[in-house]
Symmetry: C2
Subunit: 407 residues, 2 copies
């Protein structure tokens, strides 16, 4: 399911004098886009480019688990938000704005994807609007962005019916085309409260996913008992179709609102069926419980959601900031707890999305970030400029700025 | 009650081509530490220093409504937090740490106060620990910091019994000394859940405040019904002693948890007695309702709480970030709503704390911040480097860095 960046041969690199999160001092050797070795005092071979880490903290490339590159106004003139408070207000407003603004999903997704890279994100899952107004236009733009950055950014595209699936005839056919045209994952949206028919909506979604052998990532904003009901229907289908390990439920606000017994029963089913949860850790809404998820064996990972679009003024391509917001949302203060929040935007997100060859070990793809920080917790709260970002073995940013070649 | 910075004569300054939050383009003339005029096309008098705003957004100097300068590890090696989850764990841990670490409240408060100034904060209320272990040592350190920065930073000091008031004999006498020695405001802490006797605790607090003719700022973490009970006792005393407009309740988590009718009755009493509320807008805890407070006429303003201390790894001297976190906590997305969050760390905070001569109008103290941002909402979410910070008519930062004189 993952779209692995091509392995263009890159020159060998030795990064010396960096610190792992446990404080140990190591060197990292990189060859042909992979980590060849990590350890103390690695030999300096002739012909290998040397990079002095100067004691910086070494982190794996970050993983954005849920964003909407195609919608963003990143780098454009500020969008003045005067939108009503309901979910449908935001959907209608965006569709109107898209029609009238000349918004270019290709150019915008490229600008934001580059900002992600420069801030250290090397793997990214983006939901792309598919509807009967926009057709596949946004998908085409984001596919072009993926192609432009294919050597450095590992991008998964979710075909997402932002305006609903059942309410607008022809949406299912467009999703079908999107999955054939290069989308990696099938998206979905509130089968009860947007589509009005959770059984029919989920049946169409799972039918499409099964036909294309593609995983599912559903936006489930439905609150409390109705969200729990929809989630139950979804889990029935995961079990019936043998889609264990291939479904993500994004947001899942309902799991923050249910009585403990009902919540825990759902968490146990999620764990059994290896259905992962994605949270943006919104501070004004209920969220699935992080530590209980860990105890129950449920994978919970993190992402931004939209960034500076007609939905929200917030969001940042800096995943250290998202990790900090996750840690704050869960009331985490201890250093060992802040590390859990970082995992949400790194190793856990990679596992949940199916990004392979991830991490700081020999054989993994060489996706590395260096920051000047005493510890991992310090890096989260200080969010220092990226001293160096290496993606698939290539240097893509230095001192917070991108090399000429990426601009 | 406010400690106004001294008016050292400063050279006249004309800042041209800046934008107000309504988008209008103006110039600002400054003389003798005050705003002399704001308007389009102000005359360029000879001998006046010119500063080209180049279209930047003009904001008033920010106001930090609640921090703890004396506790911070700002600029020091990272403090590894391994503290237990209870309020008393944090209090005990800090007292142990203070005794053993050689922490210097003077040097630390100065480092953080300078960081606040450089990020655009020109008025600040800080709670300073007073207890039977530390005595007045922290107060002395923060008084020295206030004196060092007296020409540019308007600082209020709250004498705060961090270890409780009743539990350690002699604390009331220390608070008495602190109020005589230069503290502007009397602090207090959870009269029921820390002191164990809300009536006795509040009586000591109000007695001290009355004797010194000083206002009160109480930390009230007490949740739900017990918090409401304590708050009711406090309001009785405000009414009985005629202390309307002289009391702040910090945190007031209970107001986020009560049934609507009980909550609204308390909000109406708060409005009648002009008792203001301070929130740090924590994302993991209940908070007083911002829009209901506005409707009921209750003043709600914002602050960081501690910054990188033994309590919390979070916090930042950038009040634009705090405004963003407040806006996120209250689920605000519209531009006009984000402006309310900015008011919490500017005009509303100034009014609540009693900082006088505040704002962007002729006659106000010349406390100004210039940022490159399209709009106020943009400034909150992008938190751009401060292009210029003027405090009491003096330039204290430029391009995010302080002039030599402040370092």
């Amino acid at each position: 399911m993952t779209t692995t960046a091509q392995h263009r041969p890159t020159s060998a690199l030795l990064i010396t004098d960096v610190r792992l999160r446990d404080g140990s001092q190591v060197d990292v050797s990189i060859a042909d886009g992979r980590i060849a070795a990590i350890g103390a005092g690695l030999p300096r071979e002739p012909g290998v480019t040397l990079e002095d880490g100067a004691g910086a903290l070494l982190l794996p490339g970050f993983v954005e688990g849920h964003t909407h590159l195609d919608k963003t106004n990143w780098g454009m003139r500020w969008y003045r938000n005067e939108v009503g408070p309901k979910l449908t207000d935001r959907i209608e407003n965006e569709r109107r704005w898209r029609a009238g603004s000349g918004h270019d999903a290709g150019a915008q997704s490229l600008a934001l994807a580059r900002a992600f890279l420069q801030a250290g994100t090397t793997r990214l899952r983006t939901h792309v609007d598919i509807d009967t107004d926009a057709g596949l236009r946004h998908l085409e733009g984001v596919l072009a962005t993926r192609d432009t950055l294919r050597d450095v950014l590992d991008m998964q595209i979710v075909a997402f019916p932002q305006s609903g699936l059942l309410g607008r005839a022809g949406t299912d056919a467009l999703l079908d085309c999107a999955l054939s045209a290069g989308a990696d994952v099938l998206g979905a949206l509130d089968p009860a409260l947007i589509d009005g028919d959770p059984v029919a909506s989920l049946d169409v979604t799972f039918g499409l996913a099964e036909r294309h052998h593609k995983p599912i990532d559903i936006h489930l904003h439905e609150p409390g008992e109705i969200g729990a009901f929809t989630l139950g229907l979804l889990l029935d289908r995961v079990a019936a179709l043998g889609m264990q390990g291939q479904v993500v439920v994004s947001h899942a606000f309902c799991l923050g609102a249910l009585p403990e017994r009902e919540r825990d029963a759902l968490l146990e089913r999620l764990a059994d069926l290896r259905v992962a949860l994605l949270t943006t850790a919104p501070s004004s809404t209920l969220v699935p419980p992080l530590k209980t998820c860990l105890e129950k064996g449920v994978t919970l990972f993190g992402g931004n959601d939209g960034i500076r679009d007609t939905w929200t003024p917030y969001g940042s391509p800096d995943m250290l900031e998202r990790a900090m917001l996750i840690a704050m949302r869960y009331g985490l203060r201890r250093d060992d707890d802040l590390a859990l929040a970082f995992d949400c935007v790194s190793s856990t997100a990679a596992r949940a999305c199916g990004f392979t060859d991830y991490g700081l070990h020999a054989g993994a793809r060489a996706d590395l970030v260096l920051v000047d920080a005493d510890t991992l917790a310090h890096a989260l709260v200080a969010r220092p400029p990226r001293k160096l970002v290496v993606a698939n073995g290539q240097t893509v940013a230095r001192h917070g700025a991108a090399p000429e070649s990426l601009n």
